[in-house]
Symmetry: C2
Subunit: 245 residues, 2 copies
């Protein structure tokens, strides 16, 4: 541990976020591996200019009527009036290039709303793990990894991401940790990482996606380091800051 060590804390549900122990300004990494945070990384990777997260369908509809593209999902399904659902594959199209995309999901965008009250909000997924970890390390601030969860409950896929990111942050010795959730996430990741797709087979959300015929995203969502985008919220928009030192 170096003398300028920052702390890592993990929070397994938006409903537990107000009880975090990290004081003062911090970086909050919001993760919703299946599927919002993976999709936001994918959209920026495919050239979307920015993402505008909104909490309600009503806000999304108003912005749609103003001519913006809208991605909207509830209970795993694309909302009728939306241009996209929340599959990362939706955003791998020319249509997104240079565009602002309004985005609202069951769990992900609500977590972002909470996180913004505590500091800098970054978006984390397995597909941008390494570049995100490097970016966080350069900021020299405490970090809290916030799981979007599923309807406020703990979920395995987000917990695994917490473990993977914590491992990556601890590795260079720049971060310290005194958090049972982070310890648990590290142990779960150590069990899962040898064969993550096999491991995640037992996750309840994986079953939910299967029922919705939406589990085609699993390979993609659990592949490490497919992109070099670092999505960070600034004002009303999430943009890739990877090229900003």
């Amino acid at each position: 541990m170096t003398s300028n060590a920052s702390s890592v804390e993990v929070c397994f549900s938006p409903r537990l976020f107000k009880y975090i122990r990290t004081k003062g300004e911090c970086i909050v990494v919001v993760t919703d591996v299946l599927r919002a945070s993976t999709s936001i990384c994918s959209a920026l990777h495919h050239g979307a200019r920015q993402i505008r997260p909104v909490g309600t369908l009503q806000e999304a509809l108003i912005l749609k009527e103003k001519g913006l593209l809208v991605a909207a999902e509830r209970n795993g399904l694309k909302v009728d009036f939306a241009d996209f659902g929340n599959s990362p594959f939706d955003f791998a199209v020319k249509k997104v290039k240079g565009q602002t995309i309004v985005y609202t999901t069951t769990n992900g965008t609500r977590a972002i709303e909470l996180a913004r009250e505590r500091g800098t909000v970054a978006i984390g997924a397995f597909i941008n793990l390494q570049v995100l970890s490097k970016w966080i390390t350069r900021q020299g601030k405490p970090v809290v990894i916030l799981c979007a969860g599923w309807k406020n409950q703990f979920n395995l896929e987000d917990a695994l991401f917490c473990g993977a990111l914590t491992e990556s942050l601890l590795h260079p010795g720049n971060f310290s940790m005194e958090c049972d959730s982070a310890e648990a996430a590290l142990d779960l990741w150590s069990v899962a990482k040898k064969d993550i797709l096999h491991y995640i087979d037992k996750a309840s959300h994986r079953k939910r996606l299967k029922q919705l015929n939406a589990d085609d995203v699993l390979d993609y969502a659990f592949t490490l380091n497919l992109t070099s985008v670092v999505p960070v919220l600034s004002g009303e928009h999430i943009r890739d800051v990877s090229r900003i030192i």
Copy 2:
């Protein structure tokens, strides 16, 4: 899985209890391994007639003035007016035999208050694991294991107990499970069980107890099956029901 299978669900914090998926009446096992649930088992094991959990110090003080023995802890420390703190060793004395003990703790008794709204409340700890598991199996109802946590946050020791109890319930094939928290608890338990005292060394509450010179309870709290009591709430009191079929 037999045709009369019941479900197991795990809830890592009282603040997430309202989001559990188990419907209808169930058995809620409240656990607060360090130290309330271990201490309740210990008190009944040493002959206390019954435990009366109360949520506030004010209620405890009123009952003390009526002549009852009071165990009361806040932030890990015994409250001034109380007869006992919440170390299980406090209850291994002749003073408790045949007595009613009023009990209020930082986390444990609040979890009991929540749990009672959903059905039968049982108290679980490593020291009564096996007998509790057998008793639950005989009831033929869904079970939710509720961690008291530490100030509403996830903690390792309670999560490990959830894993141990889930493993025990699943073993005979009487229970089914579709719960990410239970899956995670099982995996954590599988990592920890080979040397639980070594594992728990990293838990933040273990460090907290050490600072309070109260970590002498660790050996006791993590020893399996020291007692055959099954503490169950009935009306205002928790009593041992192990001899009731």
